[in-house]
Amino acid sequence: MDALSSFIGLSYIVAASLFIIGLKSMSSPATARRGNLIGAIGMFIAIVVTLLDRQIVSFSWIIIGIIIGSIIGALSARLVKMTAMPEMVGIFNGFGGGASALVAIAEFVSLTSKAALPMDTAITTIIGVIIGGITFSGSMLAFMKLKGMVSGSPITFPLQKVVSALVFLGAVVLGVIITGWKPDPLLFYIIVGLSLIYGVLFVIPIGGADMPVVISLLNSFSGLAACAAGFVVKNNVLIIAGSLVGSAGLILTQIMCKAMNRSLTNVLFSAFGTGDMAAGSTSTTGDKTVKSVDAEEAAMIMGYAQSVIIVPGYGMAAAQAQHAVRELSELLQSRGVEVKFAIHPVAGRMPGHMNVLLAEANVPYTLLHDMDDINPEFPHTDVALVIGANDVVNPVARHDQGSPIYGMPILDVDKAHHVIIIKRSLNPGFAGIDNELFYDPKTMMFFGSAKDKVQELVAEIKKL
């Protein structure tokens, strides 16, 4: 190995180490920002030394590509609203997967044009293109679902699972044929197509509130795709960085599934939230009454309370109510009310969605509490204010064995002395089941859009 190759190789080791240190630092709020910077430095080193590689003889297209990509990347990072972070992460997963798939395709084109395709290269290339293709189209669809360009509810059709399985199997069988017998580019392109179709079939039956799981999983896939691309171009730093991302995504996927008390298979294949599975638990609600409240009364209850726990959900994000919520919490605090926020792990559309929104609105993160920490506090809290959350506060999950959400850990909102729920209507949440909490005698429904209602509360509390 000559001096240059050794230098490049050693630099890759440095880059890989920086990725590990960077990710490690991401596990504490105090060091996270530095960790992100360390990761960026690792990436910078990896890119610069790669440009020294003698394989690279022409730079013009590379420079053009980097300039275009940097402009798009920088602008979107600057301009994206924090409420749109799930979409942003969703589409970025897709770019990562897409880049890896394209690398594998380009490598296949180059190899088959020169000589016979060695078996090992064929295998890694095909795996790369399958994972990358699924990640790309799956993420694009997840992005469109989150953006509302495609319906967020699960979309199913007859024989869906059979069709999906056949598409996937088709790609694998063609892969075997290419590897063993016939390195025909046409077959290869069919694999590309099948992988893209499979990505769509994979995401389409999964509904909005299960998005945290899907986004985490696609995040993991984008890492594994990079990993596969590493095998294709025989570059270890891709394998290392890719597997790190792969495992990070898997960990988040696991956390999200646990927070819903559902297995990954159940999330992926049950088309949860289509409504038909909820039939059993909606029958008893006909004769129940709901108490509603106006802004003035709600303001009195909260303004004179000693402690208030705010429980935000997707409704807060959808209505962009986070700034109003911050104003409300500061106002209450100025009146001597103790305010805390209870965050369910799957509230919103991606892991940590609520935390980011509240941080954007300048709510100190020390006020935000995880489910396990805050649950013991509800019984001695005066008011629990639920803003646009539903299934994650439904007591049915604790006791109704027939309910589809039975066993899901929930926030024990019903144990607070008073419960005020800001919600547009009594419509069931994503799981398609009625919320028992709405009919609890101590619950008051405050109907309307999260932002308007919180602003009304603020105005009324100021008058007290």
Partner: protein, 97 residues
């Protein structure tokens, strides 16, 4: 089995374990930044994209490589920047308290 494949698989398995060890116990506050930061790192595919684009192969290779460079760069630049932006928001609050 070719030697590089075996070496690659060894690295793959060990890195997965390293990832699991390093990343467990992330507080929920950091789930989103961790994800977008990891996202930026998966932009490492840019290395492959650079190698494919720069070796002056056929037109098709260069075109595919160029798109891959654009995609991966968006991922890297956008990912690290947006993560920094988010973490900066968390930071501000910590000092205010």
């Amino acid at each position: 089995m070719p030697e590089y494949l075996l070496v690659g698989l060894t690295i793959f398995v060990l890195s997965m374990f390293a990832g699991f060890e390093v990343i467990t116990k992330v507080p929920p506050t950091l789930h989103t930044p961790l994800m977008s930061g990891a996202n930026a790192i998966s932009g490492i595919a840019i290395i492959g994209a650079l190698l494919v684009t720069g070796r002056n192969g056929m037109h098709l290779e260069v075109i595919l490589g160029l798109i891959a460079v654009v995609f991966a760069t968006i991922n890297v630049v956008g990912g690290f920047m947006v993560t920094d932006r988010m973490l900066n928001m968390f930071k501000k609050k910590a000092s205010k308290n």
